[in-house]
Amino acid sequence: MSKAQPHGRRPRGLTIAAFGIYAFLVIAALFFLLPLWIMVMTSLKPIEEIRLGNIVAWPVAPTFVPWIKAWASACTGLKCEGISVGFWNSALILLPSVPLSILVGAVTGYALSFWRVSGANAFFAILLLGAFIPYQVFLYPMVRIFAATGIYNSLSCIVIVHIIFGLPLMTLLFRNFYAGLPIELFKAARVDGGGFWSIFFLIILPMSPPVLIVATILQVTGIWNDFILGLTFAGHENLPMTVQLNNIVGSTMGERTYNVDMAATILTALVPLFVYFVSGRWFVRGITAGGVKG
């Protein structure tokens, strides 16, 4: 957007209209903030206080015990190792998935926007359509393929799956970015004898930090928040944090420990929330440029 200016009229002083505007925004903000408030309050209360008090009240006797339990000793079924297991699993999944999916997307976008490849447009169209189709349409044959190759239910399996399903969005992102770069630059490099890879690594990639940042934000939050792919392909030893969280909350034996559940839930949301608050406008750029995900 070239004109990033608010365009409504400027409210002068505290008119009734201005009051109405702020009243609406504050009420809306409360609706959006209330869940976070309740989650934090619940996670800081002992279970007796949750039973006696109400969900929005400030804790009378704040305690961090639920957080420690959630991290280190909450149970999924018979194992009681806390959500930390899922945290490290998600980190292990993220570490190769994010750079690899971005690299494949960048190379594909670069090849499609600068090089003459026959059938490129049809190819790109199918790739984009793939992003819209529900996973359920692909999952079963994919499971069979991975099972046949012997890597089903492993870390490499879930990483490959994330590269596969990240490809449409990543390609779209890089292709659009590279379409905005001057083609003369590429032609000059060709005249100087640059090949496919040398032009990519020496000229195009050094110009790509803006799109690389957006891609990283999208992939880190997208892969961290994934549930269905991790559940289907990661295998029991590598279940990501979202799946682990759902198991912890869903499988508590005996009485539900709402405070521990909420602490675990907040812990699971921390990484994407951190990315969101640190990245600010970059996050917005990402979701509006490639709002395909979700």
Binding site: L25, N225, L273
Partner: protein, 286 residues
């Protein structure tokens, strides 16, 4: 040459996954596969079973109810938020950050959080009692007729921020002289937004509509985390129906038939959009 080689991974994904696996799934929907895939041919038997399956019909009805309310809710709330934020207010960045942060959270987190707020004993119901409304009941989470609306509320909370962002980007592109002209003509603000700005935002609204529709059809994580499809199967959705029949109930034929129906629905939503967006405009690098 090198360019072609570099496209091999992407080509493999397109051919093997997007085309191959999809055709495979569709093919399986015409077989009698149970636990293991068999390649016989039973015609439309699985589809007949599917549309005679009460659970699937509930799932379809649910996804329509959920879709209509969630999409309308997100569009209206997102548009209102964008318009109010666009009034040269103070603290614009703070409000924007607050309205969008739920979108950064996963559906699982959203679902588990709202499951707790809707807890029929200790959640909002108890809050109502503490505030003095002793007859206040709020049992939507365990009420067959209302449970789908708990998903709607959680989903609107999570997704309105995205619509706000899209609309805000659109609003910032509206020519400011339009407002000045409208003011000179004495057009009230609400009329200006409804009759002049809203039509100008059509591309943004269509984009938001497509994105929301697709995410509605994909709805799975939120249901699993928040209601498990329950009580009973009262909040089941097609994606969950497919997953359960694929991996828990060992009914691959029926599951792939349901998956194929999901695919047809997405295609029906996308076709006019893609046609309007790309078929009318020829060429262009982006």
């Amino acid at each position: 040459m090198a360019a072609t080689i570099a496209l091999i991974p992407a080509a493999l994904v397109v051919l093997v996954i997007y085309v191959g696996c999809m055709l495979w799934t569709i093919r399986l929907s015409f077989t009698s596969s149970k636990l293991l895939p068999v390649l016989d041919w039973v015609g439309l038997t699985q589809y007949e079973r599917l549309f005679g399956n009460e659970r699937f019909l509930i799932a379809v009805k649910n996804i329509f109810t959920f879709g209509v309310f969630t999409i309308i809710g997100c569009l209206v709330l997102g548009f209102l938020l964008a318009v109010f934020i666009d009034q040269r207010i103070r603290g614009e960045a703070v409000f924007r950050t607050i309205f969008l942060y739920p979108y950064a959270m996963s559906h699982v987190v959203t679902g588990l959080a709202w499951q707790w707020f809707f807890n029929p004993m200790l959640g909002f119901e108890k809050l109502g009692h503490d505030l003095g409304f002793t007859n206040f009941t709020f049992d939507w989470l365990i009420n067959q007729d209302m449970v789908i609306y708990t998903l709607v509320i959680a989903s609107i909370w999570q997704g309105s921020g995205l619509v706000m962002c899209l609309m805000l980007a659109g609003l910032r592109g509206v020519d400011e002289s339009l407002w000045k002209a409208a003011r000179i003509d004495g057009v009230p603000a609400w009329r200006y937004y409804l009759s002049i700005v809203l039509p100008l935002l059509r591309p943004m609204i269509v984009t938001a509509l497509v994105l929301l529709s697709i995410s509605v059809i994909k709805l799975y994580d939120l249901v699993v985390a928040m209601t498990h499809g329950g009580p009973g199967v009262a909040s089941d959705v097609p994606a969950k129906f497919v997953m359960d029949h694929l991996f828990d109930r060992n009914n691959v034929g029926l599951a792939t038939a349901a998956a194929t129906m999901m695919f047809i629905t997405v295609a029906a939503i996308l076709a006019p959009w893609i046609y309007a967006r790309y078929a009318s405009v020829d060429g262009g690098r982006a």
